[in-house]
């Protein structure tokens, strides 16, 4: 197989100058065999089960990165929803101790994050989920690497307003760094490689590797090279670039799975941004011809982008998984963050964009003195979009103490600069105080 120097040059440009890398190798492990009726035995069993995986994960990823010459930015573990381990224990203190154990394990083995400190509560709150919810704020506030979610809605069962309300209270009791590791989700798939949505799904083998790719810089360069192209040509060019980006994820996934001796799961074809310059999804949308992301036309641009990425990526991966759409996490994307600080990106604008991507409201700063009604109502809006459009969406809000709209709070690293937006002109929203679960919508009926 021979390559034209231009073909080699194109790949080299992506890898060297356009920040193309693998955002995450996520090793997902079934931790349900470690369920025990008392905490000490459970932690022993968890340690026995996870140690061999945790120990080998980073070396395996580094070996593959070195062999291929491709950067792997983070390595992560995902465990079964912790609420299930808590069913026999039924104790919030146990939840906090399990989080501390996972945090220590990850730190010791150079694993960047552990996901799955989570519960599915879309139809109701079980004993284990109640323990997790009670311990969640303390668990996340006292750890560095543990991530989790509450799945509060699903197309099949509807929206649990009680869970939404409790999630809102958790959000408001989290420090900014902990809030970045917590999402309220709907319809979360079983093979998400991204945090905080990663967990080991019930329908999965005992261990499986899922891959998250990056590469908005590659697509931005393609779009900038076509200033006068019609939208169909533009869509086609994005599709071609997305194919190449996702292919890299496929290669790395196969290699890491082989190295670890576990199954290769899926590639999440969403091209994840980072706070670095030249690694922004919002910059792609602006390159298409928006004066600023958030301006009229943003939903159209994002829809065009998401559709092209899906169509290009679908053929590149042997199995697509996770959220597989487009990410516009506000703080983690430098251009999104700037636009939010300027007021071009608003909560309402983001809700509209959520209709055509898989993000929802992600990494958005709100003043910490916003009332729980407002946070619950914001979450409920996104849950409704997810259930009635039948797709996964999430809400990851960062309450920033003492902040006002337009302020910036720097979380650093991959989390980036959190722009604080105006959350609401109202403080009391009696609707979200109503008890119960909203029934599933017509999307549910279509499935029979």
């Amino acid at each position: 197989m021979r390559f034209d120097p231009r073909e080699i040059g194109e790949v080299l440009e992506m890898l060297v100058f356009r920040e193309l890398d693998i955002r995450a190798v996520t090793l997902s492990v079934n931790t349900l065999p470690a369920i025990r009726p008392n905490l000490k035995d459970a932690l022993d069993a968890l340690s026995h089960l996870l140690e061999p995986y945790a120990r080998r994960l980073r070396p395996a990823a580094e070996k593959v990165a070195s062999k291929l010459g491709v950067r792997i930015v983070t390595v992560r573990l995902a465990v079964s929803p912790t609420s299930i381990m808590l069913e026999p224990l039924g104790d919030a203190k146990a939840a906090v101790e399990i989080a501390a154990f996972l945090d220590e394990l990850a730190g010791r083995h150079g694993v960047d994050m552990v996901g799955g400190f989570s519960a599915f509560v879309h139809g109701g709150v079980s004993r284990g989920a109640a323990a997790l919810i009670e311990g969640l704020a303390e668990a996340l506030n006292s750890t560095e690497r543990v991530a989790g979610f509450l799945n509060a809605a699903s197309t099949m069962t509807g929206i649990n307003l009680e869970a939404v309300r409790r999630a809102a209270r958790i959000v408001l009791s989290l420090k900014p760094h902990a809030a970045a590791r917590f999402a309220v989700t709907a319809n979360l798939p079983e093979d998400v490689p991204f945090m905080p949505g990663a967990y080991h799904g019930l329908g999965q083998p005992d261990a499986v590797v899922n891959i998250a790719v990056s590469g908005p810089g590659v697509i931005e360069a393609v779009v900038r090279s076509l200033p006068d192209a019609d939208v169909r040509t533009l869509h086609d060019a994005i599709k071609r670039a997305a194919f190449k980006i996702t292919r890299l994820g496929e290669l790395v996934g196969r290699e890491v799975a082989k190295e670890l001796g576990v199954a290769f799961g899926a590639v999440d074809l969403s091209v994840a941004p980072s706070p670095k310059v030249g690694d922004s999804v919002a910059a792609v949308l602006e390159a298409m011809g928006l004066p600023r992301v958030g301006a009229p036309g943003s939903v159209f641009a994002l829809a065009l982008f998401t559709d092209a990425v899906k169509k290009g990526g679908a053929m590149a991966a042997s199995t697509i998984g996770g959220l597989s759409g487009a990410f516009i996490p506000v703080s983690e994307d430098a251009v999104m963050s700037q636009a939010a600080a300027e007021g071009a990106i608003t909560l309402d604008g983001l809700k509209a964009m959520a209709a055509v991507c898989n993000t929802g409201l992600d990494m958005v700063g709100i003043p910490a003195d916003v009332g729980p009604d407002v946070v619950a109502a914001i979450i409920a809006d996104v849950m409704a979009l997810a259930v009635h459009l039948d797709k996964p969406l999430g809400v990851r809000l960062i309450p920033v103490p003492g902040a006002r709209p337009g302020d910036i709070y720097d979380l650093g690293g991959l989390y980036g600069r959190v722009a604080v937006v105006d959350a609401s002109r109202y403080s009391k929203i009696p609707l979200v105080a109503r008890p119960g679960t909203a029934p599933p919508g017509v999307e549910r009926l279509k499935k029979g």
Partner: protein, 90 residues
């Protein structure tokens, strides 16, 4: 054959090809293809190299080539051919 791509980019000067090639020769890595351009004094070279008979693995070769690149004042990258196969072929 185990093929790797070596890319070199930087300000043009005497001895770049010789410097890189001597590291490859020292480790018995065989150059199977080479293309080189100089545009506005920027030197760019892409080599396809077989390391199946080399006495070092790709990681060690990368370290030594990067070191040589530093000495020459050029940027060196070393990538496995599978990256190009996956991204440029269906």
């Amino acid at each position: 054959m185990e093929l790797v791509v070596v890319s070199v980019l930087g300000a043009d000067r005497v001895g770049i090809v010789a410097g890189i090639a001597s590291v490859l020769a020292r480790h018995n890595a065989n150059i199977v293809d080479i293309s080189q351009t100089v545009v506005r004094d920027i030197f760019s070279m892409i080599m396809v190299v077989d390391i199946s008979k080399a006495d070092v693995d790709i990681s060690q070769l990368r370290r030594e080539l990067e070191e040589e690149g530093k000495r020459l004042g050029v940027m060196v990258g070393v990538f496995h051919i599978d990256v190009f196969k996956y991204m440029q072929r269906i």
